[in-house]
Symmetry: C2
Subunit: 437 residues, 2 copies
Amino acid sequence: MVDQMPEVVSAHPQVVIVGGGFAGLQVAEGLDGAHVRVTIVDQHNFHTFLPLLYQVATAGLEPADIAYPIRTIFGKSRNVTFRHGRVLVIDWPARQVLLKDGSHLDFDHLVLATGASAEFFGVKGAREHALPLYTLADARHLRNHLLLALERRDAHPVAERPGVTFVVVGAGPTGVETAGALIELLEVCVRRDRLQIDLAASEVVIVDPVDRVLAPFPRTASRYAARILTRRGVTLRLGVSVVEVLDDGVVLSDGSEIEADGVIWAAGVSGTGTLAESVPGPPTPQRRVPVDADLSVPGLEGVWAVGDAAAVPTGTRDSDVCPQLAPVAIQSGRHCAAQILASVEGRPTAPFRYRDKGIMATIGRRAAVAALPRGPVLRGTLGWLSWLGLHLAYLIGFRNRLRVLLNWTWRYFDWPSGPRLIVADAETADEPHSTGQ
Amino acid sequence: MVDQMPEVVSAHPQVVIVGGGFAGLQVAEGLDGAHVRVTIVDQHNFHTFLPLLYQVATAGLEPADIAYPIRTIFGKSRNVTFRHGRVLVIDWPARQVLLKDGSHLDFDHLVLATGASAEFFGVKGAREHALPLYTLADARHLRNHLLLALERRDAHPVAERPGVTFVVVGAGPTGVETAGALIELLEVCVRRDRLQIDLAASEVVIVDPVDRVLAPFPRTASRYAARILTRRGVTLRLGVSVVEVLDDGVVLSDGSEIEADGVIWAAGVSGTGTLAESVPGPPTPQRRVPVDADLSVPGLEGVWAVGDAAAVPTGTRDSDVCPQLAPVAIQSGRHCAAQILASVEGRPTAPFRYRDKGIMATIGRRAAVAALPRGPVLRGTLGWLSWLGLHLAYLIGFRNRLRVLLNWTWRYFDWPSGPRLIVADAETADEPHSTGQ
């Protein structure tokens, strides 16, 4: 196999892919072995499996369970290489990507796969006080915050507030999954680790201006999810929005306030603050890069945009844009690779068309919903098993799959430990090198 | 079992254990179920299995593989509780431990199990530039440093230095184990991840003023270790000491300099900077707490010191003090628990006596040395297997054992991935919440 692969020669066009998420990796995989030189550049040396991020945040999984070194993924490729670095700016006329370390990468084709970032919608105090959940660093930070809040409450009980309260902003899949896992974390911390916190007085509250949870799902799925969440102890505050985030709670649009030990932001993402914003021309409402039907960026020769960073057209009606979901990132990345090859070989490009394969969300142990397009809604244990199977199948790298499977199985039957470690980002700051104290 | 355990009543004496390392946990385990109330206080909510720390530093294991929540260990105990917090100072006359958050813990008995910290012996620049390896935070920091140094060299090749150089200061077990694992990490980064670094021009150098590696071991073990290390590519600079650490290398006592991409400090530990220093009375040369034969601190009623923090007498000859090793911590912790019970029950205390069960060090895959007291020196695969078995047996918590075993087995046969993730402590600092770039 390897011997039949083409030699990499410097005359081959250079493709630079910015971002090693689902979309960027799919582009690279589609170009692996072709007559192009490919460089993936990312500020992290690993790919993050974002669909399981909430598990890291709620101490069910470890960071390494959902992260995988990008170099290792393409370790056997002859024409795909990785460059660890942060892109500062793109010099469009010179066709160069400029990195923070002062170096640059020339490109013939450039793929923007820069993902998205948390969108705070201008809500007062949100950027300062709410805890977003979109990167591995976010997840670690959120986990430390949650566990520290519980330890603090155990050490300093307040008679008038015997429980803890966490607010989750957003009733979409991320919000629902996080709230479900958070309830389980609270239970295990009290029942197993015997933290002195009153469970009955504790609350996980989901707030969303939309009047139902999992709005993109069919109504039957929303009703089922709401019933399970409520039964497990999650409070739903639907039809109201958060107007301000304080350092100890939120203010809602109906004038009420919720005092909270943590506010988790799961309200949505946009291209704000990412490289996508720097592309010349008018951005779409969510600040995603506008693309033509073949995913090329209009007016910029050999520049493409895919995944969350792009306003990917569904390919059915002119104005429709795909949601920012993993399947869109994967499909658009795959399509982009084929169009780059067509363009390199002088063939015409083809329009992208999104194939909706359904959506899924888990609500906790043995409870999930899976909505297939024009098909049935799977729920309960069956929904949970299909959710589990799909995610494990998607996880890149055999070793990670094994680890995650082991952790999940263990947790399903018992959950005796779980990585409930508080590994503060700045733990060395005031205590350089000592063990115990 | 549980029903036969004594009720915890507030009249029972309060034992406060400062530090959740090997020693502290053994004290708590020895008091579990007895007529005392026990509180373990630690600034980390987890126990760290220090013997495998070098594996985390060299990307062979994940932090969660060697860390275990202290609450979970005593989740079923009726009289042992955990308090997450940092001890600032001890008010000896008031018999109170004062915590950083402003609260305090009263004690009838106090156990100092605060461990040790890296000792730089006043070497110029060591504290600023060398990377110690004594806490989980140290290990994560070192790993990020190593992997970033490799990525930097790949991105910015220097013609006159095609390889990388790492210096390990100290030829004891920690230095030898780290150097052996570091050589393996270099190989896997180049062979599998295809980093553009010249292996033949790369070096791992061990520096030690003593003229042999593994000085506490028999000479046959030292010779074997030196042979294996050299064969695998480690350079030994023995009989010279480091007089200065620079940000890009070290200066040696023979006047030579080594330009290096990282300097790892494995030269020794002391009580410097830990709570052990605050105990009234003259400290021992290594700043450990002096203790009587029964491990009580002279002149302070009901105060005990164990493990690395204490100058634990061997119990054989008056002046002999035990080395700072895990078996000493475990045995002294166990002994201390028994003496506290004796003292609570009005019985006389007994002197501690160290039972030397041998020492072990691994040099890499299928190579380790185990020296039994007055017994044979095991080495090679047999030594490695006994090393592996012993460490796995010591690991607290079944789940962690499973994880470590899985990782090790996987690595032994292939090592396709390994957690070579650069998760910088401050990764969120300049890029708040975006995925790819």
